[in-house]
Protein backbone atom coordinates (compact mmCIF):
# COMPACT_ATOMS: atom_id res chain seq x y z
CA UNK A 1 0.00 0.00 0.00
CA UNK A 2 1.36 3.39 -0.92
CA UNK A 3 1.99 6.03 1.74
CA UNK A 4 -0.76 8.23 0.31
CA UNK A 5 -3.39 5.52 0.71
CA UNK A 6 -2.28 4.80 4.27
CA UNK A 7 -2.44 8.51 5.05
CA UNK A 8 -5.96 8.77 3.64
CA UNK A 9 -7.08 5.76 5.65
CA UNK A 10 -5.68 7.26 8.85
CA UNK A 11 -7.84 10.32 8.27
CA UNK A 12 -11.04 8.45 7.45
CA UNK A 13 -10.89 5.61 9.97
CA UNK A 14 -11.68 7.64 13.15
CA UNK A 15 -14.82 9.25 11.70
CA UNK A 16 -16.02 5.91 10.31
CA UNK A 17 -15.38 4.44 13.76
CA UNK A 18 -17.69 6.99 15.39
CA UNK A 19 -20.35 6.28 12.79
CA UNK A 20 -20.08 2.52 13.30
CA UNK A 21 -20.31 2.95 17.08
CA UNK A 22 -23.50 5.00 16.82
CA UNK A 23 -25.11 2.41 14.56
CA UNK A 24 -23.97 -0.43 16.84
CA UNK A 25 -25.34 1.22 19.99
CA UNK A 26 -28.61 1.96 18.20
CA UNK A 27 -28.89 -1.66 17.08
CA UNK A 28 -28.09 -3.09 20.51
CA UNK A 29 -30.50 -0.77 22.34
CA UNK A 30 -33.39 -1.45 19.97
CA UNK A 31 -32.81 -5.20 20.16
CA UNK A 32 -32.42 -5.19 23.95
CA UNK A 33 -35.56 -3.12 24.61
CA UNK A 34 -37.53 -5.15 22.04
CA UNK A 35 -39.15 -1.93 20.84
CA UNK A 36 -42.18 -2.57 18.72
CA UNK A 37 -42.06 0.77 16.92
CA UNK A 38 -38.46 1.98 16.79
CA UNK A 39 -36.69 0.29 13.84
CA UNK A 40 -33.27 -1.33 13.76
CA UNK A 41 -30.65 -0.01 11.31
CA UNK A 42 -31.36 -2.94 9.05
CA UNK A 43 -35.08 -2.14 8.89
CA UNK A 44 -34.20 1.45 7.99
CA UNK A 45 -32.02 0.29 5.11
CA UNK A 46 -34.75 -2.09 3.95
CA UNK A 47 -37.31 0.76 4.11
CA UNK A 48 -35.04 3.06 2.10
CA UNK A 49 -34.51 0.38 -0.53
CA UNK A 50 -38.24 -0.12 -0.80
CA UNK A 51 -38.75 3.60 -1.48
CA UNK A 52 -35.86 3.72 -3.90
CA UNK A 53 -37.26 0.80 -5.85
CA UNK A 54 -40.74 2.19 -6.31
CA UNK A 55 -39.17 5.49 -7.37
CA UNK A 56 -40.92 7.70 -4.86
CA UNK A 57 -37.69 8.43 -2.98
CA UNK A 58 -36.15 10.07 -6.06
CA UNK A 59 -39.27 12.14 -6.62
CA UNK A 60 -39.15 13.47 -3.05
CA UNK A 61 -35.44 14.25 -3.27
CA UNK A 62 -35.96 15.92 -6.64
CA UNK A 63 -38.82 18.04 -5.30
CA UNK A 64 -36.81 19.24 -2.32
CA UNK A 65 -33.72 20.00 -4.40
CA UNK A 66 -35.80 21.86 -6.97
CA UNK A 67 -37.29 24.13 -4.30
CA UNK A 68 -33.88 24.79 -2.76
CA UNK A 69 -32.37 25.43 -6.18
CA UNK A 70 -34.97 28.02 -7.19
CA UNK A 71 -35.25 29.73 -3.78
CA UNK A 72 -31.51 29.84 -3.19
CA UNK A 73 -30.78 30.84 -6.78
CA UNK A 74 -33.17 33.79 -6.62
CA UNK A 75 -31.72 34.80 -3.25
CA UNK A 76 -28.16 34.74 -4.60
CA UNK A 77 -29.16 36.72 -7.68
CA UNK A 78 -30.56 39.45 -5.47
CA UNK A 79 -28.18 39.28 -2.51
CA UNK A 80 -24.83 39.52 -4.31
CA UNK A 81 -25.49 42.72 -6.31
CA UNK A 82 -27.40 44.26 -3.39
CA UNK A 83 -24.63 43.36 -0.95
CA UNK A 84 -21.98 44.83 -3.25
CA UNK A 85 -23.98 48.03 -3.62
CA UNK A 86 -24.61 48.34 0.11
CA UNK A 87 -20.96 47.69 0.85
CA UNK A 88 -19.72 50.26 -1.65
CA UNK A 89 -22.28 53.05 -1.21
CA UNK A 90 -22.52 54.30 2.38
CA UNK A 91 -25.98 55.78 1.83
CA UNK A 92 -27.39 52.47 0.63
CA UNK A 93 -25.92 50.74 3.65
CA UNK A 94 -27.46 53.20 6.10
CA UNK A 95 -30.78 52.95 4.31
CA UNK A 96 -31.14 49.16 4.13
CA UNK A 97 -28.97 47.70 6.86
CA UNK A 98 -31.33 48.37 9.82
CA UNK A 99 -34.32 46.63 8.26
CA UNK A 100 -32.24 43.67 7.09
CA UNK A 101 -30.69 43.30 10.53
CA UNK A 102 -34.22 43.24 11.96
CA UNK A 103 -35.58 40.70 9.48
CA UNK A 104 -32.54 38.45 9.71
CA UNK A 105 -33.04 37.01 13.22
CA UNK A 106 -36.68 36.05 12.52
CA UNK A 107 -36.76 32.29 12.14
CA UNK A 108 -37.90 31.26 8.66
CA UNK A 109 -40.40 28.98 10.37
CA UNK A 110 -42.17 32.08 11.67
CA UNK A 111 -42.87 33.06 8.07
CA UNK A 112 -44.79 29.84 7.35
CA UNK A 113 -48.26 31.23 8.13
CA UNK A 114 -47.60 34.26 5.92
CA UNK A 115 -46.18 32.07 3.17
CA UNK A 116 -49.33 29.94 3.16
CA UNK A 117 -51.49 33.06 3.20
CA UNK A 118 -49.66 34.65 0.26
CA UNK A 119 -48.59 31.66 -1.82
CA UNK A 120 -50.89 28.81 -0.79
CA UNK A 121 -49.61 25.29 -0.34
CA UNK A 122 -47.91 24.77 -3.71
CA UNK A 123 -44.22 25.00 -4.60
CA UNK A 124 -44.16 28.75 -4.15
CA UNK A 125 -44.46 28.70 -0.37
CA UNK A 126 -41.30 26.70 0.34
CA UNK A 127 -39.45 28.58 -2.39
CA UNK A 128 -40.41 31.83 -0.70
CA UNK A 129 -39.30 30.51 2.70
CA UNK A 130 -35.95 29.37 1.30
CA UNK A 131 -35.49 32.71 -0.37
CA UNK A 132 -36.24 34.64 2.81
CA UNK A 133 -33.97 32.45 4.90
CA UNK A 134 -30.92 32.50 2.65
CA UNK A 135 -31.06 36.02 1.25
CA UNK A 136 -30.13 37.89 4.45
CA UNK A 137 -27.00 35.95 5.38
CA UNK A 138 -25.73 36.36 1.83
CA UNK A 139 -26.43 40.12 1.80
CA UNK A 140 -24.72 40.60 5.15
CA UNK A 141 -21.69 38.52 4.18
CA UNK A 142 -21.23 40.27 0.83
CA UNK A 143 -21.59 43.71 2.42
CA UNK A 144 -19.07 42.96 5.12
CA UNK A 145 -16.78 41.55 2.43
CA UNK A 146 -16.77 44.94 0.69
CA UNK A 147 -16.21 46.71 3.99
CA UNK A 148 -13.18 44.61 4.81
CA UNK A 149 -11.33 45.06 1.50
CA UNK A 150 -7.88 46.16 2.52
CA UNK A 151 -7.26 49.80 1.79
CA UNK A 152 -3.86 49.13 0.25
CA UNK A 153 -5.51 47.39 -2.70
CA UNK A 154 -7.94 50.23 -3.31
CA UNK A 155 -5.05 52.69 -3.04
CA UNK A 156 -3.01 50.72 -5.55
CA UNK A 157 -5.95 50.74 -7.96
CA UNK A 158 -6.32 54.50 -7.50
CA UNK A 159 -2.58 54.91 -8.07
CA UNK A 160 -2.79 53.20 -11.46
CA UNK A 161 -5.70 55.44 -12.37
CA UNK A 162 -8.05 52.67 -13.50
CA UNK A 163 -11.65 53.35 -14.47
CA UNK A 164 -14.56 52.54 -12.17
CA UNK A 165 -15.45 49.52 -14.27
CA UNK A 166 -11.95 48.09 -14.00
CA UNK A 167 -11.85 48.92 -10.29
CA UNK A 168 -15.04 46.92 -9.77
CA UNK A 169 -14.23 44.05 -12.08
CA UNK A 170 -10.57 43.57 -11.21
CA UNK A 171 -10.38 44.68 -7.57
CA UNK A 172 -13.66 44.94 -5.67
CA UNK A 173 -15.44 41.82 -6.94
CA UNK A 174 -12.41 39.49 -6.74
CA UNK A 175 -11.59 40.84 -3.28
CA UNK A 176 -15.13 40.08 -2.08
CA UNK A 177 -15.54 36.75 -3.89
CA UNK A 178 -14.27 34.64 -0.95
CA UNK A 179 -16.83 36.31 1.33
CA UNK A 180 -19.56 35.74 -1.26
CA UNK A 181 -18.68 32.04 -1.25
CA UNK A 182 -18.83 31.96 2.56
CA UNK A 183 -22.25 33.63 2.34
CA UNK A 184 -23.39 31.01 -0.18
CA UNK A 185 -22.28 28.21 2.11
CA UNK A 186 -24.26 29.68 4.98
CA UNK A 187 -27.21 30.37 2.66
CA UNK A 188 -27.41 26.88 1.19
CA UNK A 189 -27.11 25.35 4.66
CA UNK A 190 -30.03 27.38 5.96
CA UNK A 191 -32.02 26.72 2.79
CA UNK A 192 -31.71 22.98 3.21
CA UNK A 193 -32.78 23.22 6.86
CA UNK A 194 -35.80 25.25 5.89
CA UNK A 195 -37.05 23.26 2.92
CA UNK A 196 -37.55 20.18 5.08
CA UNK A 197 -39.36 22.19 7.74
CA UNK A 198 -41.54 23.92 5.16
CA UNK A 199 -42.50 20.66 3.47
CA UNK A 200 -43.74 19.26 6.77
CA UNK A 201 -46.57 21.78 6.84
CA UNK A 202 -48.28 21.11 3.58
CA UNK A 203 -47.51 19.85 0.08
CA UNK A 204 -47.53 16.31 -1.21
CA UNK A 205 -43.87 15.90 -2.06
CA UNK A 206 -40.41 16.49 -0.73
CA UNK A 207 -38.31 14.89 2.00
CA UNK A 208 -40.08 16.87 4.75
CA UNK A 209 -43.41 15.62 3.51
CA UNK A 210 -42.03 12.10 3.36
CA UNK A 211 -41.18 12.24 7.08
CA UNK A 212 -44.59 13.47 8.16
CA UNK A 213 -46.42 11.16 5.77
CA UNK A 214 -44.46 8.10 6.95
CA UNK A 215 -45.37 8.82 10.55
CA UNK A 216 -49.02 9.57 9.83
CA UNK A 217 -49.51 6.63 7.47
CA UNK A 218 -49.02 3.77 9.89
CA UNK A 219 -46.09 4.80 12.07
CA UNK A 220 -43.45 3.89 9.49
CA UNK A 221 -40.55 5.03 11.67
CA UNK A 222 -38.12 3.13 9.49
CA UNK A 223 -38.95 5.57 6.69
CA UNK A 224 -38.81 8.55 9.07
CA UNK A 225 -35.26 7.70 10.04
CA UNK A 226 -34.28 6.77 6.48
CA UNK A 227 -35.44 10.24 5.36
CA UNK A 228 -33.52 11.91 8.16
CA UNK A 229 -30.33 10.16 7.15
CA UNK A 230 -30.86 11.02 3.49
CA UNK A 231 -31.46 14.68 4.42
CA UNK A 232 -28.22 14.68 6.37
CA UNK A 233 -26.28 13.13 3.51
CA UNK A 234 -27.64 15.56 0.94
CA UNK A 235 -26.88 18.48 3.28
CA UNK A 236 -23.32 17.25 3.52
CA UNK A 237 -23.10 17.01 -0.26
CA UNK A 238 -24.44 20.53 -0.76
CA UNK A 239 -21.88 21.89 1.68
CA UNK A 240 -19.04 19.96 0.05
CA UNK A 241 -20.22 21.28 -3.31
CA UNK A 242 -19.93 24.91 -2.24
CA UNK A 243 -16.64 24.07 -0.55
CA UNK A 244 -15.30 23.05 -3.94
CA UNK A 245 -15.72 26.72 -4.94
CA UNK A 246 -13.10 27.62 -2.33
CA UNK A 247 -10.57 25.67 -4.35
CA UNK A 248 -10.93 27.93 -7.39
CA UNK A 249 -7.62 29.58 -8.24
CA UNK A 250 -8.72 33.23 -7.93
CA UNK A 251 -10.03 32.70 -4.36
CA UNK A 252 -7.37 30.34 -3.03
CA UNK A 253 -5.38 33.25 -1.56
CA UNK A 254 -8.07 33.76 1.07
CA UNK A 255 -7.99 30.22 2.39
CA UNK A 256 -4.28 29.41 2.34
CA UNK A 257 -2.24 29.72 5.55
Amino acid sequence: MSAVVVDRLKRVVPSLGVLATVVAVWWVVVTATQSAIFPTPWQVIAGACELAQDGSLWEHIGASLFRVGVGFGLAALLAVPLGLWMGWVGGAYRMFNPIFQMLRPISPIAWIPLAILWFGVGDLSPIFLIFISSVFPMIVQTTSGVHTIERRYLRAAANFGVSRTVLFRRVVIPAVLPEIIVGMRIGIGVAWLVVVAAEMIALRSGLGYLIMDSRNAGNRYDLVIASMIIIGMIGLMLDSGTRLLERLKPVRWRYVR
Partner: protein, 247 residues
Amino acid sequence: MSAKAIVVSGIRKSFAAGKGSLPVIEDVSFSVADGEFVAIVGPSGCGKSTLMNIVAGFEPADQGTVRVGGIEQSGPSAKGIVISQHGSVFPWLTVQENLMFGLNGDGHGNKADLADHYAAMVGLKGFEASYPHELSGGMLKRAELARALVVKPDILYMDEPFSALDALMNLRMRNELLRILDEERHTVLLITHDVEEAIYMADRIMVLSPRPTTIQASFEVELPRPRKLSSPPAQALREAILKELGL
Protein backbone atom coordinates in the same frame (compact mmCIF):
# COMPACT_ATOMS: atom_id res chain seq x y z
CA MET B 1 10.73 72.17 -16.06
CA SER B 2 11.43 68.51 -16.55
CA ALA B 3 8.49 66.13 -16.32
CA LYS B 4 10.11 64.05 -13.62
CA ALA B 5 11.03 66.79 -11.14
CA ILE B 6 9.13 67.32 -7.89
CA VAL B 7 8.82 70.71 -6.20
CA VAL B 8 7.28 70.72 -2.73
CA SER B 9 6.65 74.14 -1.27
CA GLY B 10 5.35 75.17 2.13
CA ILE B 11 3.51 71.97 3.07
CA ARG B 12 1.65 72.04 6.37
CA LYS B 13 -0.64 69.37 7.76
CA SER B 14 -2.50 68.86 11.04
CA PHE B 15 -4.75 66.06 12.17
CA ALA B 16 -7.77 66.47 14.39
CA ALA B 17 -6.96 65.08 17.83
CA GLY B 18 -9.68 65.26 20.45
CA LYS B 19 -10.85 68.87 20.59
CA GLY B 20 -7.67 70.43 19.27
CA SER B 21 -5.50 69.67 16.30
CA LEU B 22 -2.19 67.92 16.16
CA PRO B 23 0.31 69.57 13.82
CA VAL B 24 2.22 66.86 11.99
CA ILE B 25 4.06 68.68 9.23
CA GLU B 26 5.25 72.21 9.65
CA ASP B 27 6.41 74.07 6.60
CA VAL B 28 8.27 71.51 4.53
CA SER B 29 9.77 72.60 1.22
CA PHE B 30 12.19 70.72 -0.99
CA SER B 31 12.68 69.70 -4.56
CA VAL B 32 13.82 66.56 -6.29
CA ALA B 33 15.51 66.86 -9.67
CA ASP B 34 14.80 64.70 -12.70
CA GLY B 35 16.34 61.29 -12.15
CA GLU B 36 17.52 62.11 -8.66
CA PHE B 37 17.27 59.58 -5.83
CA VAL B 38 16.31 61.38 -2.63
CA ALA B 39 15.92 59.62 0.70
CA ILE B 40 14.02 61.03 3.64
CA VAL B 41 14.96 59.66 7.05
CA GLY B 42 13.37 60.58 10.34
CA PRO B 43 12.40 59.26 13.74
CA SER B 44 9.36 56.98 13.84
CA GLY B 45 6.06 58.79 14.14
CA CYS B 46 7.50 62.04 12.79
CA GLY B 47 5.11 62.19 9.85
CA LYS B 48 7.27 60.62 7.14
CA SER B 49 4.43 58.58 5.72
CA THR B 50 2.03 61.51 5.90
CA LEU B 51 4.50 63.58 3.93
CA MET B 52 4.79 60.78 1.37
CA ASN B 53 1.01 60.50 1.10
CA ILE B 54 0.76 64.21 0.41
CA VAL B 55 3.55 64.25 -2.17
CA ALA B 56 2.09 61.19 -3.95
CA GLY B 57 -1.35 62.81 -4.01
CA PHE B 58 -3.21 60.48 -1.63
CA GLU B 59 -3.83 63.11 1.01
CA PRO B 60 -4.39 66.84 0.64
CA ALA B 61 -2.11 69.24 2.50
CA ASP B 62 -3.62 71.95 4.67
CA GLN B 63 -1.32 74.46 3.04
CA GLY B 64 1.33 74.43 0.37
CA THR B 65 1.63 72.80 -3.02
CA VAL B 66 3.26 69.83 -4.66
CA ARG B 67 4.23 70.29 -8.29
CA VAL B 68 5.28 67.37 -10.43
CA GLY B 69 6.77 68.37 -13.77
CA GLY B 70 5.48 71.88 -13.13
CA ILE B 71 1.86 70.79 -12.75
CA GLU B 72 0.15 71.02 -9.39
CA GLN B 73 -0.60 67.59 -7.94
CA SER B 74 -4.32 67.09 -7.28
CA GLY B 75 -4.52 63.35 -6.69
CA PRO B 76 -2.72 60.08 -7.26
CA SER B 77 -1.76 59.22 -10.82
CA ALA B 78 0.15 56.55 -12.68
CA LYS B 79 2.97 59.05 -13.23
CA GLY B 80 4.10 58.38 -9.67
CA ILE B 81 3.68 54.87 -8.29
CA VAL B 82 3.84 54.13 -4.56
CA ILE B 83 5.62 51.04 -3.28
CA SER B 84 4.98 50.54 0.42
CA GLN B 85 6.10 48.30 3.23
CA HIS B 86 3.27 45.80 3.18
CA GLY B 87 2.88 45.68 -0.57
CA SER B 88 -0.27 45.77 -2.61
CA VAL B 89 0.17 43.05 -5.22
CA PHE B 90 -3.36 41.78 -5.83
CA PRO B 91 -3.55 38.25 -4.41
CA TRP B 92 -6.37 37.23 -6.78
CA LEU B 93 -4.37 37.96 -9.94
CA THR B 94 -1.37 36.08 -11.30
CA VAL B 95 1.99 37.83 -11.55
CA GLN B 96 1.35 38.55 -15.22
CA GLU B 97 -2.19 39.82 -14.59
CA ASN B 98 -0.85 42.05 -11.81
CA LEU B 99 1.75 43.48 -14.13
CA MET B 100 -0.86 44.13 -16.80
CA PHE B 101 -3.24 45.75 -14.31
CA GLY B 102 -2.03 49.30 -14.85
CA LEU B 103 -1.83 49.02 -18.64
CA ASN B 104 -5.08 50.71 -19.55
CA GLY B 105 -6.09 51.75 -22.99
CA ASP B 106 -4.10 51.20 -26.15
CA GLY B 107 -0.62 52.35 -26.98
CA HIS B 108 1.15 49.79 -24.85
CA GLY B 109 1.70 47.33 -27.69
CA ASN B 110 1.35 43.72 -26.65
CA LYS B 111 0.55 44.01 -22.95
CA ALA B 112 1.46 40.45 -22.07
CA ASP B 113 4.87 40.80 -23.75
CA LEU B 114 5.51 44.05 -21.91
CA ALA B 115 4.51 42.45 -18.60
CA ASP B 116 6.78 39.47 -19.26
CA HIS B 117 9.67 41.77 -20.16
CA TYR B 118 9.46 43.49 -16.76
CA ALA B 119 8.89 40.20 -14.94
CA ALA B 120 12.17 39.01 -16.45
CA MET B 121 13.87 42.29 -15.53
CA VAL B 122 13.11 41.81 -11.83
CA GLY B 123 14.01 38.13 -11.96
CA LEU B 124 10.53 36.61 -12.04
CA LYS B 125 10.92 34.79 -15.35
CA GLY B 126 9.02 31.52 -15.10
CA PHE B 127 6.66 32.82 -12.41
CA GLU B 128 4.33 34.81 -14.69
CA ALA B 129 1.45 32.39 -14.10
CA SER B 130 2.00 32.08 -10.35
CA TYR B 131 -0.34 33.57 -7.79
CA PRO B 132 1.15 35.85 -5.10
CA HIS B 133 0.51 33.36 -2.29
CA GLU B 134 2.80 30.95 -4.09
CA LEU B 135 5.69 33.46 -3.96
CA SER B 136 8.17 34.34 -1.22
CA GLY B 137 8.32 37.79 0.36
CA GLY B 138 11.24 38.85 -1.78
CA MET B 139 9.56 37.68 -4.98
CA LEU B 140 6.40 39.55 -4.04
CA LYS B 141 8.43 42.71 -3.66
CA ARG B 142 9.94 42.12 -7.09
CA ALA B 143 6.47 41.66 -8.54
CA GLU B 144 5.36 44.93 -7.00
CA LEU B 145 8.40 46.72 -8.37
CA ALA B 146 7.77 45.28 -11.83
CA ARG B 147 4.10 46.27 -11.70
CA ALA B 148 5.19 49.84 -10.99
CA LEU B 149 7.88 49.86 -13.72
CA VAL B 150 5.64 48.45 -16.43
CA VAL B 151 3.48 51.61 -16.58
CA LYS B 152 6.69 53.62 -17.09
CA PRO B 153 6.12 56.07 -14.25
CA ASP B 154 8.17 59.23 -13.97
CA ILE B 155 8.55 58.81 -10.22
CA LEU B 156 8.77 55.93 -7.75
CA TYR B 157 7.56 56.76 -4.26
CA MET B 158 8.98 54.17 -1.89
CA ASP B 159 7.72 54.09 1.69
CA GLU B 160 9.95 51.72 3.67
CA PRO B 161 9.76 49.37 0.72
CA PHE B 162 12.04 46.63 2.00
CA SER B 163 11.55 46.85 5.76
CA ALA B 164 9.15 43.89 5.91
CA LEU B 165 11.79 41.65 4.31
CA ASP B 166 14.43 39.70 6.19
CA ALA B 167 17.86 41.36 6.48
CA LEU B 168 19.48 39.36 3.70
CA MET B 169 16.65 39.91 1.23
CA ASN B 170 16.63 43.58 2.21
CA LEU B 171 20.29 43.90 1.14
CA ARG B 172 19.66 41.97 -2.06
CA MET B 173 16.69 44.14 -3.03
CA ARG B 174 18.75 47.32 -2.61
CA ASN B 175 21.15 46.07 -5.28
CA GLU B 176 18.28 44.92 -7.48
CA LEU B 177 16.69 48.35 -7.28
CA LEU B 178 19.95 50.10 -8.14
CA ARG B 179 20.51 47.76 -11.08
CA ILE B 180 17.02 48.47 -12.42
CA LEU B 181 17.48 52.22 -11.94
CA ASP B 182 20.64 51.95 -14.03
CA GLU B 183 18.52 50.50 -16.84
CA GLU B 184 15.57 52.86 -16.49
CA ARG B 185 16.30 56.16 -14.85
CA HIS B 186 13.37 57.05 -12.56
CA THR B 187 13.13 59.85 -10.05
CA VAL B 188 12.93 58.19 -6.64
CA LEU B 189 11.67 59.50 -3.34
CA LEU B 190 12.47 56.98 -0.61
CA ILE B 191 11.14 57.16 2.93
CA THR B 192 13.08 55.05 5.40
CA HIS B 193 14.16 54.76 9.00
CA ASP B 194 17.24 52.83 7.90
CA VAL B 195 20.13 55.30 7.60
CA GLU B 196 22.42 52.74 5.94
CA GLU B 197 19.80 51.93 3.32
CA ALA B 198 19.60 55.65 2.53
CA ILE B 199 23.40 56.05 2.31
CA TYR B 200 23.73 52.96 0.13
CA MET B 201 21.23 54.09 -2.49
CA ALA B 202 20.43 57.81 -2.39
CA ASP B 203 22.01 60.81 -4.07
CA ARG B 204 20.79 63.07 -1.31
CA ILE B 205 19.46 62.43 2.20
CA MET B 206 17.09 64.72 4.07
CA VAL B 207 16.68 64.32 7.81
CA LEU B 208 13.30 65.15 9.32
CA SER B 209 12.84 66.52 12.83
CA PRO B 210 10.41 65.01 15.35
CA ARG B 211 6.75 66.05 15.06
CA PRO B 212 5.72 68.62 13.92
CA THR B 213 8.27 67.80 11.31
CA THR B 214 10.49 70.09 9.32
CA ILE B 215 13.57 69.37 7.25
CA GLN B 216 16.32 69.51 9.80
CA ALA B 217 19.33 68.77 7.64
CA SER B 218 20.24 67.70 4.13
CA PHE B 219 23.27 65.68 3.00
CA GLU B 220 24.63 65.17 -0.50
CA VAL B 221 25.93 61.63 -0.84
CA GLU B 222 28.98 61.97 -3.05
CA LEU B 223 30.27 58.45 -2.78
CA PRO B 224 31.29 56.43 -5.85
CA ARG B 225 29.10 53.45 -6.76
CA PRO B 226 28.94 50.62 -5.93
CA ARG B 227 29.13 51.99 -2.44
CA LYS B 228 30.79 50.32 0.51
CA LEU B 229 29.05 51.11 3.77
CA SER B 230 32.21 50.23 5.69
CA SER B 231 34.30 52.87 3.90
CA PRO B 232 35.42 55.78 6.11
CA PRO B 233 33.45 58.49 4.22
CA ALA B 234 30.25 56.39 4.42
CA GLN B 235 30.82 55.81 8.12
CA ALA B 236 31.42 59.53 8.69
CA LEU B 237 28.20 60.36 6.86
CA ARG B 238 26.34 57.79 8.94
CA GLU B 239 27.68 59.34 12.14
CA ALA B 240 26.63 62.80 10.99
CA ILE B 241 23.09 61.68 10.14
CA LEU B 242 22.66 59.74 13.37
CA LYS B 243 23.82 62.81 15.25
CA GLU B 244 21.07 64.82 13.57
CA LEU B 245 18.63 62.15 14.70
CA GLY B 246 19.91 62.58 18.25
CA LEU B 247 21.71 59.25 18.49
